[in-house]
């Protein structure tokens, strides 16, 4: 019995050990399985998250690369659409660009997006990116759609490359969009209002800056006046008109307005917008074979011009039958080689007395009968006491120019009946048979530059009209390639490349005699006059139906130059008004208080593209101020009490390359100008792409519109 008990005892122990071992093993297995499972789940989660960010990095990298293609004014092609990959840790990231069918599209950017309402040529692309782990498994897949818009610049009331300051003295209202790629400074002595204008078809407002938005001045650490910008909101009466909101000073110092504060405008004020590529200033350069200031790769305005007129300053010559001189005006082709046929036609136009006087029915007359439609304003010689910083000199004497300007009535000289010297004075009447064949006139002194200017003067209206009435030797009047006519005029001289005293001046063009027009035809032709040198516009330009009585319709028009100068309708006065001695540019030497420098109400309908000075950074004082947007056009008269009625768009692509005269303020102290009443508006007709001036420059805008993650 005792032995049985001992035997049972041993068996129980064995069974117990086996059972316990089994239990422990099952427990261990269960724990191991659960830990393994949890580790797997956690690992998968971590892997998914890490993979997602890896894929996202590919997306960002791809978008950055592709964005640069567009910002360089190119469009992806060929290998740009090939898949690309790179290693990120132990992962492989692949990304690829694909193009959405239907590119490009001409669209109006919908309301709600940046630059809404603008006409744009838009391309849409998609980038997809995936990340793979070491086993080749796709961990995450993400995608993004982005669009690339080529947006015409003349859809802004003001568009600047560098810092833009809007600091008007008198009240000033801007309707439309304002953009700068730099910093935007808003201030006023009284009130600056940026608002919509439904009555003028300006339905929205957008004020955007590539960098920051500042309330106050840039040249001084001060903040004054009232600045009001419309919000993208219309909740208070009158309805149908965006609600204004004051951008306040915060103390008396200039301040940077934070994003959070700008958000109250609901998108009508945006800073740090970035992503905008704008044309370089060399888009207006001629070939280097034409001018020392030219480029080996001439700009688009030269390359696509319908007519290229060059004043060769250092080539002796003149009109056939004329006295000869130190400069030749001719027409050249895109390569810069004289186009004999067109040059002969140009000379015929310049000396067509019958046409100029309108003596033959159906031909002419000139808008300035008796005045040569193309001429140049010469620079008096130092021997006459004239020179830089020397406006008070013997500039009215023929002998002050070399060679001497012929006396009126003499061979090749101005017509008889003019004042003695023939330098400035000339009867502005019908031509007297034998036309003036000397296309030189007396000098113009630019008080801001403190220089005598060499100006190539061009009557655009006469050129277009004469062309259409004489078999169209220059261009087809109804040419709509590039949106219409593009006339490039320049001065090729020794100082073309740097700071100089050159300029191109258009005059006599209160109407542009082209078929149709804005509001009349669906796609009016229009004209752009461009130069790499300073651009001057004298008198009413493309006034259109604003004239009283109503004149011909205005055309899409733009004036493009190194800087833009405006001379009033009164600038060329009749002899009686200027004492028979100071017609044309003679009055430019007078003090601002002299009545001969008084301006007259003037109307201009044209987009401007020119350079503006930049106020240096760092509150360097009023002497460093560039004059702000209100001084984008450079004035040279006393406009006090008179108005400049302007409709168009102000675009600055940077600092002028050829003029550097400081804006030193108004009044007699500077003797440059007194400001006009600024009746300035964006031309709402430009909202229709068909009405944009020929060869309107575009900026490139790249925007991500969609980020997606593919879920499996």
């Amino acid at each position: 019995m005792a032995m049985r008990l001992r035997a049972d005892d041993r068996g129980m122990a064995l069974i117990g050990v086996i059972v316990l071992t089994a239990l422990l093993m099952s427990l261990a297995i269960a724990v191991a399985l659960q830990v393994g499972s949890d580790t797997q789940v956690g690992g998968a989660f971590r892997s998914g998250v890490t993979g997602f960010y890896a894929a996202e990095s590919g997306l960002n990298r791809g978008m950055g690369e592709y964005r640069n293609i567009f910002l360089d004014y190119n469009v992806p092609s060929g290998s740009d659409f090939s898949a690309r990959s790179y290693a990120l840790g132990d992962r492989q990231v692949s990304y690829k660009l694909s193009e959405r069918p239907g590119n490009p599209q001409n669209i109006v950017i919908p309301s709600g997006e940046v630059f809404s309402g603008l006409n744009a040529i838009q391309y849409r692309y998609i980038v997809n990116s995936t990340s793979q782990n070491v086993n080749g498994d796709v961990e995450a897949s993400v995608g993004a759609e982005f669009l690339v818009g080529y947006i015409p610049l003349f859809q802004f009331v003001a568009f600047y490359r560098n810092d833009l300051e809007i600091l008007p003295g008198p009240n000033m209202t801007l309707n439309g969009r304002v953009h700068t790629n730099g910093r935007l400074y808003l201030n006023a002595n009284n009130t600056l209002t940026i608002a919509d204008n439904p009555a003028q078809q300006v339905f929205t407002v957008q004020v955007s800056a590539g960098l920051g938005v500042y309330r106050g001045r840039k040249d001084q650490n001060t903040c004054t006046g009232t600045v009001s910008v419309d919000m993208l909101e219309d909740k208070v009466a009158p309805f149908g008109d965006l609600d204004p909101k004051i951008l306040p000073c915060n103390g008396s110092s200039t301040r940077e307005v934070p994003v959070a504060e700008l958000a109250a405008w609901k998108g009508s004020m945006i800073r740090d917008i970035g992503n905008i590529a704008i044309p370089e200033p060399d888009i207006v350069k001629p070939p280097s074979t034409v001018s020392p200031g030219g480029s080996g790769d001439p700009g688009v305005y030269w390359a696509k011009a319908d007519l290229r007129i060059v004043l060769h300053r250092d080539q002796a010559g003149g009109l056939p039958g004329g006295p000869g001189g130190l400069a030749v005006v001719d027409v050249v082709n895109a390569a810069g080689v004289r186009d004999d046929a067109r040059t002969n036609a140009l000379w015929q136009f310049m000396s067509d007395a019958t046409w100029n006087a309108g003596l033959v029915s159906g031909r002419g007359p000139s808008s300035y009968p008796g005045t040569m439609p193309i001429f140049y304003t010469d620079v008096p010689i130092p021997a006459s006491g004239c020179g830089n910083n020397q406006p008070a000199c013997n500039n009215t004497a023929a002998a002050a120019y070399s060679p001497t300007i012929p006396a009126p009535g003499s061979l090749g000289g101005p017509r008889a009946g003019a004042a003695a010297s023939g330098v400035y004075a000339e009867l502005m009447g019908a031509a007297l048979g034998t036309f003036d064949r000397d296309y030189r006139r007396g000098g113009f002194y630019n008080q801001r530059e403190k220089k005598w200017m060499l100006l190539l003067n061009l009557n655009v209206r006469d050129l277009i009209l004469w062309n259409s009435q004489n078999g169209e030797p220059f261009f087809a009047t109804n040419d709509t390639s590039e949106g219409g006519l593009v006339i490039f005029a320049t001065i090729a001289g020794p100082a073309s490349a740097g700071i100089n005293n050159y300029g191109v001046r258009v005059f006599g063009s209160a109407d542009i005699p082209l078929p149709g027009g804005i509001g009349v035809s669906a796609d009016p032709t229009g004209v752009t006059v461009a130069s790499d040198q300073a651009m001057y516009v004298l008198g009413n330009y493309n006034r259109g139906t604003a004239a009283v009585p109503a004149g011909p319709p205005r055309q899409p028009a733009s004036l493009i130059g190194d800087s833009i100068n405006v001379l009033s309708q009164r600038y060329w006065q009749s002899q009686a008004a200027c004492n028979n001695t100071l017609c044309r540019d003679g009055q430019s030497t007078q003090s601002l208080g002299n009545a001969s420098r008084n301006a007259q109400n003037t109307w201009i309908n044209a987009a401007f593209l020119g350079g503006v000075d930049t106020t240096p950074d760092g509150y360097q004082g009023a002497g460093s101020y560039n004059g702000g947007l209100e001084n984008y056009p450079r004035f040279h008269e006393s406009w006090s009490g008179t108005s400049l009625t302007y409709q168009g768009s102000f675009v600055s692509l940077g600092q002028p390359e050829h003029v550097n005269g400081d804006w030193c303020g108004t009044g007699n102290g500077c003797n440059i100008y007194n400001p006009p009443d600024r009746l300035w508006n964006f031309d709402p007709a430009y909202n229709d792409a068909a009405n944009l001036p020929p060869l309107t420059p575009r900026f490139v805008y790249v925007q991500q519109v969609l980020f997606t993650e593919d879920f499996k």
């Binding site: 422990l24 997006e113 849409r124 759609e145 993208l232 998108g267 519109v705």
Partner: protein, 266 residues
């Protein structure tokens, strides 16, 4: 002696087994709670990342919305719908056209991608807009709306196809008692249970204001604050499905910051 030893071994091992089993149960509940929280957060993150896609970036802010209610917040994300190639379904009222408030059919630049039954948003150039349902697509340049609008919309007004998702918490009752859950509602459809056991949803918003460290608010107070949301801070607490022996639930909290990539132009 052997029986005693075996008894001791059995008792000790049984104790270990029971403890191990309890640990397994606890770990199982932890995994369950953690996975529930992760799943909920993952879904919210994904929708937040996409929020605002293809929608207006100016004017009234419509991409995100929410309700602040302590630990039971709500959040709504809106995105634009896309075509199969990912391009946004959106268009504009063309030059010269007007969408009249009472009219049915109106002109758009392109109706490509729109289809009957879609919800859409029309935005006035003044920044305000309203929703409507597309009832038909009569032509490549026309849409038909179901509801009358509150006012007319002029040229350049934007028209966007949208998708709206709302996350919020609610309770339901089963044989075990009251159970919290995260609910997802898509548009005007019936809400659907998304994750069971989610008992806290706390959403905060980091603004691009006073940075660094940047303001954090429980809910943006107005359009201006919504427009500067830079990051959404999501805090989710999930509990296990079953309580332990003491009646306590295991809880796990997951916190993440999500940058909505589509809210503002890049």
């Amino acid at each position: 002696m052997g029986v005693m030893l075996m008894g001791l071994a059995v008792v000790a091992t049984s104790g270990m087994f029971v403890a191990g089993k309890e640990h397994m149960k606890r770990q199982s509940r932890e995994v369950e709670a953690t996975q529930a929280a992760r799943a909920a957060v993952d879904m919210i993150i994904r929708d937040l990342r996409l929020g605002g896609a293809c929608l207006p970036v100016t004017g009234d802010f419509i991409s995100l919305d929410g309700i602040n209610n302590g630990n039971t917040d709500q959040i709504t994300t809106r995105t634009g719908l896309t075509r199969p190639d990912l391009s946004c379904i959106r268009t504009s009222v063309p030059t010269g056209a007007t969408v009249t408030a009472s009219g049915g059919v109106f002109s758009v630049s392109s109706s490509e991608g729109f289809s009957p039954g879609m919800r859409a948003y029309i935005r006035h150039p003044d920044g305000l807009g309203e929703y409507f349902d597309v009832i038909a697509v009569p032509s490549p340049t026309q849409l038909a709306k179901e509801q009358p609008l509150s006012r007319n919309y002029p040229e350049t007004s934007g028209v966007y196809a949208i998708d709206e998702r709302r996350f919020y918490l609610q309770n339901f009752t089963n044989w075990r008692g009251t159970v919290p859950e995260l609910v997802l509602q898509v548009g005007n459809q019936s809400p659907q249970s998304f994750a069971v056991g989610i008992e806290k949803l706390n959403i905060q918003y980091q603004l691009r204001r006073n940075c660094p460290p940047c303001d954090v608010v429980d809910l943006p107070a107005n359009n201006a604050e919504w427009s500067v949301v830079e990051q959404v801070l999501v805090n989710v607490t999930a509990r296990s499905e079953l309580p332990d022996a003491t009646g306590s639930y295991l809880r796990r909290t997951v916190s993440v910051g999500v940058k909505p990539r589509n809210l503002l132009p890049q």
